[in-house]
Structure formats: C-alpha cells, structure tokens
Symmetry: D2
Subunit: 403 residues, 4 copies
C-alpha cells in the first residue's frame, strides 16, 4: 500500500459508464421531467421518465451502487469507489433516484441489510433494492433539538405482541410520495435507560392506522417532489417483529446509518458545487459589463479561483474519509466524517451563491437551477446534525489528544 | 448645528404612531392575510385586508411618508425622518403597502413629482398617491448586464406623434398584479448619443396593445404577490406626451430615482434583520440542547453579538447617508448611498442565515418568515446595481482623493 | 435636539487646530524621532523631539483634551467632541503623547480626577496633567485569565498603617520608561467578599522597595518605547492613604476607567485604519502589474471599497457610543462601548492587512508603518477584555430584551 | 494503481526517523539555540548548535531529502514522500537547516542540479549539498511588481567574456549570513525578446566587486538570522560561464524552481499550523475563565474544529499536488500548486491568529512562538507570487475548460 490519488480501475470504469448515462440519458431527461411534472399539476407526481431512467440504469449496471459490503443482496462497492459516483449523481437532481441511490432509501436499505431480520429484508429490503417502493426515516421532531438524541420524545411502548408508537416527527423526507410504503421510526423504548440506550428503531408501514401525514414542508418556497413530511404517529400499533435490531439499539443503528450517508450527501454537494462553478464560468465568459466579459474581471476571477480551491479540498477530504471508513471502519472515521459534513454544504453554498451573483436576476429565478440548489444545500447544514454539533465533536476529539 | 443622535420630535412622533399601527393593526393582520390568500387560490390576489390596513393608515396620518420634498401633492418628510419609519415597516411584508410606501411605486411617484408634466401627474401620480392603482418599473433586461446602462437594448423610436417601444424587460416588479396600470420604461431614444444621454424614460399604460406579460418570475421558490414580470414591449405605441422629462434624460432620472429608493430598501433590510435577530433570541432562549438553552452557548452568543454589532453599524451608516441627502443632496451622498446599498442586504442575509440555523428545520420552512425573508434580501444584492458595481463606484471615489 | 451628523463648532475648531499641528509639527517630527531614537541606541530613550512637540501642543491649546468633565483641574471636553481628535491623533504614533492624551495616563488621570483624594491629586494628578511624569496600570496577570476579574491573584493586605502588595503583573504598559513614576495596581483586599467587591486599586510609586521590573515584553518582534512591563510586586508596602477610593471599589473603578478609554482606543484605531487606507490607495495608483495599475484591478478596488465601508461604519458607531456616554452616562453606553471595542481593532487589522498585501514585501518591513501598526492593533483585540468577553456581554444584553 | 491515503513504507520510515530526531535533538536544541544567539549579541550569528544538529541529521540519514530526482549527487525522494517530512520540519524553525532542506538553498540546489554545468555543480552545488555554504536568490526588486516577470529591471549585459549585472534586488533571503557565498540573480539579457524570453539567471559570488548588501529587512519587528537582504548589483562583472542555462531561459528556470519549492513551503506552513493548533489546545485545557476551562467554551471549540478542518484539507490538497508533480510533472500540477500556494499560508495564519487569541498577551509576545510564526507565514502570502496572482492563474485555467 502506498499513497496514490488515482481512482481504482473499477471506479474509473463505473465513472465512465455513469458519465455516459448522464450525458445520454439523464441530462436530456431533465426537460422531459419538467414537462411531465408541469402537465401533471401535482407536485408529488411520479413522472414516467423516472421509471425509464431507472430501467436504463439497471441495464447499464448502474444500480444500487451505494451498498459498501458484499451480501447476498448486493455485490458491494467500497465507499471510496462509490464516492465519485455520488459526486457525479449530484450534478442532476434526477440521477440519484435513477440509479436507486437516493436518500433516505440508501440509509434505510443499509441498516436493513445490517440489522434486519430475514423477514424484514424480504418484506422491505427486496422491493427497495428493486426500486419498487420508497421509504422514509422518522427521527427529527418539531418540538425538541433532535441533534441531541436524548431529547427524543416519541415513545415506543411494548403492549403484548405489539409496540405502540406515539410521537410527532417532521422532515420525514419522502413521505409525501404515494410510492413511500414504510417508515423507520426512532423512539424511546426505555426513557430510564442510560442516555444512549433509551432509543429503538421500528418499521412502520405507512398504511398502519394512526399514521397521519399532517403536512408537507416547503424549503425556501420549494415543494420537493418526494416531500418533507410532518407525521403524527398517533397510537400506531405494529407487531413486535417490526423492531429493527434490539431494544435500546436505536442510537447505535443511527450512528451506523449516518457514516456512509454523510459521504453520499457530501459528494453530491460537491457535484452540485461543480455544476454551479461550471455555470458560473459559462456565464462569466458570455456576459459583458463595462466593456469586458465578467470572466476578465478580477472580482469574478477571485470567486472562480476560490471556488475551485474550496471544491478540490472538500473532495479530497471526503475521499479520505471514505477511505478511512473502508480501511478502519465507520467509527475510526468519525472525526473526518464530521469534518466533511461541515465542509461540503458550506462550500457548495458559497459556490452557488457566487454563481447566483454572476447570473443576476436569472440566478434567483427558475431560469437557472441555482436557487433550488441553494435551498437544498442549505438544509444540509441542519440535517443529520447541524454544523455546530459536528464542530463540537471535532473539537472534543482534538482536545482529547492533549489530555 | 451639532452632532446629535436623537431622532427629531417629528420623527419620534411618527415612529410611535407607526409602532402603534404595527402592533394594533399590521401584525394581527398577518394571519388574516395568509388566510385570505390561501382561500383565494390566486398568488396574485389582492386581499381585502390590505385595503383595510390602508384605510386605517390614512386615518392615522401614516400615508405617503416617503416623499422628501414638500409639493402641492405632499407635505414632504426628510429622508432622515423617513428612514426609521422605513425600518419599522420592514418588519412586516404588509406594512409598506399599507402606508403607501411600497417599491416600486415610491420611486415612480418621486420621479413623476420631479419630472412629470401636469397632465402626467393628474393621470398617474394622483391615483398612485391615493393608493388606487399600482405601477411598475421596466429597466432591467434579460439579455444584457443592465447595471451598465449603456448595455440597454430596448428602443424608443419617434414616429410622428408617437413613440414606438420595442424591447424585452424583466424584474418589472409589481406587473403581475391586476391593479398595476402603468409602467415606466427605460429605453434608448438615441443609441448614437454619448453613453449617458442615449436613454429616455416613458410612461406606458399596461393595457396598450403590444405590452405582453410573458411570465412571472419566482424568487427561490416563492411567487410574490405583486410578481416580478417579464414583459415584451412589442411595437408598443404611445403618444409623445408620455415621455418623462426630455429625450436623453433617462439616465439622469434613473440616478435621481435611486438615491432615496436605496435608503428605503436599506432601512427595510435593517428592519428585517432586527426581526430575524429578535426571532433568533426568542428561539435561543427556549430551545435546549445538551443540557443548556442555546442562549447559554458560546457559539450562539457570538452570532447574536455579531448581529447586533452589524445591524447597529448599518443603521447608523444609512441614517448618515439620509442626512447627507437632506443636507448636501443626492449627488453629494452618492458614495455613502453605494456603501449602504452594499452593507444592508449583506447584513440582513447574515443575520437571517444565523437565525435559520438556530431554528433548524423550521428556519427553512414556512413555519418561520426567515426563508422568505432570505430570498427577498438576496435579490437586493442584485437589484438597483449589484454589490460589485457599487464597490467599484466607492473605490473610484476613494482613489480620486489621492490623485 | 434633533439628529445631526455635523461636528460641533468647538469640535471642528479643535480638529482644524489639531490637523494643522499634525501637518506643521507632528509628521515632520517623525523622521527626527527615528533619528534621535536610532542614535540613542536605547529603545526606551525619551527623545527631545517629544518635549518640543509637547510644548508646541500646549501653546496651541491642544493639551489634556481627553478629560470629559469640567473640574478644577481641566476645562472638560465631551467624549463626542474629543473622539474625532483621538482619531486624528491615531494617525501618528507621536501624536497622543504630544498632546498629553496617551494611554495609560489618560485612564489613570481620569480615575484620579474622579476617585483621588486631594493629596493623591496633588502628588500624582498634577504632574501627569503637566506631562512631567508618566504612569502605568497594573491589572493583567500572567498566571490567570484577567478578563474575569474574579481570577485576580494579586493581594493587597492591610498591615497597620500600610498595605502590603504581593503579585505578579504584566502588560503594565509604560513601565519601562524612566519617566514612569507611579503604578495603579489592582489586587484583592478581601478574597472572601462577593466577586465584584474583592478588588481594590492602590497607588504604588515605582521606586518603592519590592517593585521589580522583571522584563519588557515585545509585540510581534517590536520593543515599544514606553514598554510593556512585567512587574513583580514583592512585599511592597505603601501607606494606607495610597488606596484609591474605598476597599472593594476596585472593580467599579476599573469599569469607570474603561468607558472613555475604549472610545479613545477605538478612535485611534480608526485613525490608523484611515492612514492604512490612504497608503493603500497611493500605492495602488502608482504600482503597475500585468499592464494596469493596481488601482484599476477589481480585487484591489474591492479591498478599497470594503475598507471605506468598514471604517465609516466603525466611526459612526464609536461617535454614537461617545454621544451615549455624554448623554446617558458610561453605564447606559456599555453595550455600545463593547460593540466598538470589538469592531474597531478588527476593522483596522483588516484594512492594514489589505494594505500590506498591496505593498508586498515593503508592507511587512520597516519601509512602511504597516507591520508595526498591525502589531499594535492586534494587541487591542486582547487588551481591556478580549473580543470574546465583549461579545458575551453584548449577547447577554440582547437576550435580556426577550426575557 | 488505486487510490490509497497510506504513506509509503519508505515515507513512513523517514517520518519516524525525523520525528525521533525532532524529539531527541531538535526540540531540546531550541533553548540552547536561544542562549547561543543571545550571548553572541549578533542577530546573524551562526550558532554551533546548528552544526551539531546537521552532523546528527547526516548520521541519521536525514539529509538533502528534498531533491526529487535521482542523480549522481543525490538518491532522490519523490515529492509525495518528502512532503510529510517538510511538514514535520515546519514545526521547528531549526529543523529545515538541520536537515539541509532550507529555502532558498533547496530551490537553488535543484536548479543547479537540473541546469548547472559540471563546473558550476562542482563549485556551488557540491558545498551546498554538503551544508558547507549557503546561497541566496535575487529575483524580487523593490521598484516594480516582480510577480509580473516582464517588470524586471535588472540588466545582464554581455561584454566580451563577461556579463555585467546592474540592478537592485531585495528579499534576497539568506544574504545577511556570512556563510552565504553565492547569489542566483535574475535579470534581463534581452529586453526586446518576447516577454518570457527576456530573462536569464546567473551565478554571482557574493564577494564579487560591486555586490553591495545595502541593508537587512525586518519582518514585522523580527530580524531573521539569515536575513532578508537588499542588494545593489552595481556594475558587477562575472565570466560568461556563470550563466545558468541559456540566455532567455530565466523565466523557464524560475518556473521549474517554484513547483517543488511551493510544496516545501506549503507543507512547512501546515506543520506550523499543527504546532499552533496543539499549543491552542494545551492552553485551552489549562486556562479557566468564568468558571470553565476555555476548552469547554463553544467559541474556542469552534476555533479548534475549524482549524482541524482547514489543516486536514490543506494537507490533502498539498499531497495531491505533490503526487501530481511526481506522476504528470510540474507543469501538469501547476493549477494545484497555485491552489496550495494560496491555501496553506492563509490557513496557517488563521490558526495561528486563533491561538494568539487563546493565549492573550502571551500570544503576541516572546513567551510563545506564535507571533514570530505569524510574521513568517504572513510573508508567504507575498513571496513566490502573491495570492492574487495565483488566483488569477487558477481562474484562467478554470475558464479555459469552458472555451
């Protein structure tokens, strides 16, 4: 083993195939998608073009690439090999679902692979891996700061052969789609246990009585197709066999879920940043003010240079974190995962914001994808732990070296 | 005369009356407004509550406060006395229209007052001052960097007793409302004149044949009630009496229009920032994470302190610019007006962004006004000249001192 | 009273006289000063040119301008009238001492005026006001975070008719000069009292046995002429009549001392920033790279514009704080004083750093005053309370509004 | 070849040996060094401890590690293997010279290796490689912006068998040492050639008549031991055999020189940043204010986390640039080299500045190495091309992708 920054032959092959898929299928589909959505009149419509893309991706061998470990269900691809694919998929909002690598399904599939019973896998993992259904993840609660897991108020109470779930969750992303069939819900089975053993996760089919989708949250004015649901779990009863793992393992499962998921998000953020930088350059070359193209003006050049520097650094740090996860495990990579979780959305936001400024009015409107990308990246400074919690984690580990 | 930071008795009286109006009428109206808009199903609906607020404002003597000079039409209020009122009105999106001090009508009314013929004033200024109609301002063009006025492509060509207007404009804010009756259009009457004498402004009733509202632009994902119109002026013919001022005076009128308008925008930005800071503090006091309220955590305290510092500085600089306009005129205040034009939206964006972070998911959604405020403020780094053009202006003036 | 940004006639007259003094005497003296210092070979030499400047300043009526209140000892000048004079004096390191308005004497003279006995005033205030001696202020201790006054370890113990002082102090600025005759020392007379009543201040002539000047601290490689002393007070005995105010009043006196002192520092920081901006502009106009002067390059223009914006804001905020001190008292201005304490050195550092970058190698060397100015301003983010403590103060006050 | 972030076995072995050398020899030598310098009374003294360290380093096989290519003179070590050694050596100002890897000798030795004649190598490269003499590099000129090579004014004129050199250079680092025996001087042999073929480099023994060391520049207030010389080359005559490479190749040689040199500087900057972060953590753990250690306070934790994130990113980007240089050559790595040239000193400055703030007064004084490190890093934003020139380079390459 020796330091090398060249992607593996396998990774390069997949990248080439994914890039071809993007050029030949995904980008051309974007306009079709817009048209199908518009004509449906339903912001939560499932447009046929997605199904087309999915079938193409499957036939190109670009399917379920996100699962790191070889199982009976999937071939497995290392985090390091998957990361650049996630980046490429981040350039178009259609790509992640097209290759069945979209959040929150990826994380849900991963924990089902790792912690699910055979029965649970047959019922939920199989159709998710086949892209037949979608799923959501109900952890965050409106009433409390959910980045501190000890704050969770949702209760999961044993009652005979059933668990009874009561709680209010929001940002259950994906829940507004009619194709979303199951939620993984985090709640407390034992509020008196030690802080990180109070929580459990449980599988809740969305058609269970008592599951009430209250509303769909907007993000900076945008209604996302899959939606961000607020769900009231009101005396919801499921069989005890729906528990994921053991009672009290919820926090540990959440941690296991988050490592690779953060790599995915981060690399997609970098893909988004690259797209914004490319748009910025194109605009800067064509737009003229005060007798020069914007590309010839020092201020714009500074923005382009800083964007390139920030993106390159964020990518390398993410690849390093992915490599650590592959070599020393998710736990050994925790500091670096927190680092990229802070870095990548902030880089993407800065780059997108500069691109908006270069586009002027077009930048904030629907004439470019920039404002929508901005809105999406902005949520990532909050989702899966706000920046501040990750910084606290990083600082504590750094300080520990000097004990 | 001697330095004094106390508002004048007149300003304080108006502030108190406006604050009472906000508390007693405007804030309570916000919910009514949401309900009336929702039930109308039309994003460009004109809800009755606005008319109620307008009539209340009139009876409280809070009407048309923005006009700096005493004329036969208005009493006149100095920029310095009006500025804090603009700040207060910036705290609610309902307030500016309620007191008939909303952009772009204010700027349009001001230039009609200054440059309009008696006939033009009777036809357009009177109903605008009475709040009976609204207006829009068509300067920015999609095809060119419009911050450089020499780029303007819209043509205004004399043909007998008429001018013929051809051009495509966008960000004609207000144009989507059925109450918008007239546009002030900037175009070139003489493309061969010296760069700043090529342009003229002309009054175009929106029902003139050839005026085509192409579409309404969104800002981030928001559709504004008054809308941001893209308008195609396609062989539009108006009588020569519709010209505002003289041929070739368009650039000069634009400059005259912008001074006070920037004070208004800036002070409303500061009002928005104050509201975001207040929301941030309230949230920080009530939200608990890791055993402490957010208000007790150093990082949040830093955000609050920096917000207070930035807001206080931006307000003082704006008041100073207003005072300069009152004492040495718009031209003498140009550097300072450029300074506040850069400062205020950037301060507001930073404060709002911090508030979003403190609110978590609620911050980006419709549960707080923050994301919408962010979108609005973000456009102000582009409207009326992007930050970069103002910085260039400031730098040139500074460098001139060392010639 | 009504808002007005014009300096008072008295302030303008003093400014004009001080500006004339700068042009006619201070700036020309800078070279003489360098030569006298160099030829002395002693970094703590008192060069005759200072005494010349002092006598000129006195004859021009530019002497002891800093004292805000009229007493039998001084005429008094409001903080608001003095502030712009402090700014002007900040442009040259010779000016503050030349007009007898140099720290730490100013603060020491002020508390002697307010809290000193007649005897103390005769002995120390009189020669300080006459510029015959200098003084230092011993509060900060090397061993503890002294921004938290409860950490102070220096003891002041009553023993019969004497107090015995034991402690180690540093950053006792001015102590390295042979002209420094007295220290005001902060220590604890009663460590068991409530946190803010444990401390007292006491006058210690520097020739008292047990006063040991351990060393003189450098600042970024620079040895300041008056020096920054580390002093060991080792069983130092002074008569009880040397106590300033009452036992337990040390913290309160420190607070009283800091308000105006912070205005002075802040305005001098702004003066330094203005000088750096002027130097940057001059260099940018004359230096050519890649076919254009630096002044024509967008990046440099951005720096100039941002510097102008930041300076103008910082000045206005400081003037506002000064006005508050004059009108509602030091206590009522505490938030604003903390705000300017944070803002001004940070603005000055940013402006100076940009100027250094424009000067290239000359910027970090002795060929410009920039590096030395940087070092001086950098200490002001620590002296009289670090930025972080002031931010905490501001945040707490802001949060209190929402209780 | 496949992506791997593990250092090579060779690199790890060298790192371990260098770390041992640091612990066993370098750090303990720092105090001895200070004492030898102090007692010499000469800021340019060559203290015996350096010679001790050099002999130890040689016997440990830690000598001349910087040369990337295997030649008859050196074994060669890849940039990627050397980079982490440069980082380690950056932690102590004694280490680079101790292992004969100090600037500007490294760059000079490299171009002598690549472009020197056998005679030049015997005369200058041999004693440099043996650590017997030192050298300086005379490129920058006080009168012009030297980052634009076409500005160079120094002339190198052929006169029979000699070249005559006339020009004024500064920041000829190392020239103040009596051990510095030769300068490599950049000047114009043909001012009429195309812009990048006007320059040549020539070897000038410092004892040649006409070489006048005018003065030694300070950096902030520091006098560096090797000094930063301003040299007047006044009708200096050297034989034509002293030309390095061919006439007109000066710009190309400068480019060849800069690639690896920038890696070295960057990695040493990162070493400095790591040291500052470690110091910050130690201080934060031990210092108490307002009832908590600084390490427990959110603001300080944010600084520590951001420092860790910034350092990790800068290191990975530098390693990537080093790998590119090794695999595709210096030219193929130019964008990335410009990126790290901007990133590393800025990261180091931010981290050091935070550490200073945590140390309070000790941070700006001689009680910590921080202020001196700050001064050193600050010059690196100017040396070898200011940030702005590198940003311009990066932007142009990025824009070229969209032609």
């Amino acid at each position: 083993m020796t330091m090398d920054f060249e992607y593996s032959p396998k990774a390069k092959d997949l990248q080439n195939r994914l890039l071809a898929f993007m050029d030949e299928a995904v980008y051309p589909a974007e306009e079709v998608y817009e048209e199908q959505m518009r004509s449906s009149g339903d912001p939560h419509f499932y447009p046929p073009i997605i199904e087309d893309l999915k079938s193409q991706a499957r036939s190109r061998g670009l399917w379920n690439l996100f699962l790191p470990h070889k199982t009976e269900w999937t071939e497995g691809l290392s985090n390091l090999d998957y990361a650049p694919l996630a980046e490429i998929s981040g350039r178009s909002h259609l790509a992640p679902e097209a290759i069945n690598c979209a959040a929150p399904d990826t994380g849900n599939m991963e924990i089902l692979t790792m912690f699910g019973t055979e029965e649970q896998k047959e019922e939920w993992l199989r159709p998710l891996l086949h892209g037949e259904i979608r799923s959501c993840f109900s952890m965050t609660e409106p009433a409390v700061a959910s980045s501190d897991a000890s704050n969770i108020e949702c209760s999961i109470t044993r009652d005979g052969d059933e668990y009874v779930i009561n709680g209010r969750k929001w940002w259950s992303s994906g829940a507004s789609s009619s194709r979303c069939k199951v939620a993984i819900v985090m709640g407390k089975t034992d509020p008196k246990a030690s802080p990180y053993q109070q929580q459990s996760m449980i599988l809740v089919p969305l058609d269970t009585p008592g599951v009430k989708l209250i509303r769909d949250l907007t993000v900076f004015g945008y209604t996302d197709r899959e939606g961000h649901g607020e769900i009231h779990y009101d005396n919801v009863r499921v069989p005890i066999s729906n528990l994921l793992g053991e009672e009290g393992s919820g926090f540990a499962i959440a941690q296991a879920r988050l490592g690779p998921g953060r790599i995915h998000h981060t690399m997609r953020s970098i893909g988004a940043a690259e797209r914004a930088l490319a748009l910025m350059c194109k605009r800067a070359r064509s737009r003229v003010a005060f007798g020069k193209t914007l590309a010839e003006q020092g201020t714009i050049q500074t923005w382009i240079a800083d964007s390139r520097i920030e993106i390159d650094q964020a990518r390398l740090l993410t690849l390093y974190a992915a490599w650590l996860m592959d070599t020393v495990g998710n736990k050994g990579a925790r500091t670096e995962v927190s680092e990229i979780k802070v870095v990548a959305p902030n880089v993407a936001l800065r780059v997108i914001d500069r691109a908006i400024q270069v586009y002027g009015g077009a930048g904030v409107s629907e004439d470019t994808p920039l404002a929508r990308m901005y809105a999406g990246q902005r949520t990532l400074r909050l989702a899966d732990g706000p920046d501040e919690v990750h910084r606290m984690t990083i600082a504590r580990r750094e300080l520990r070296k000097h004990e």
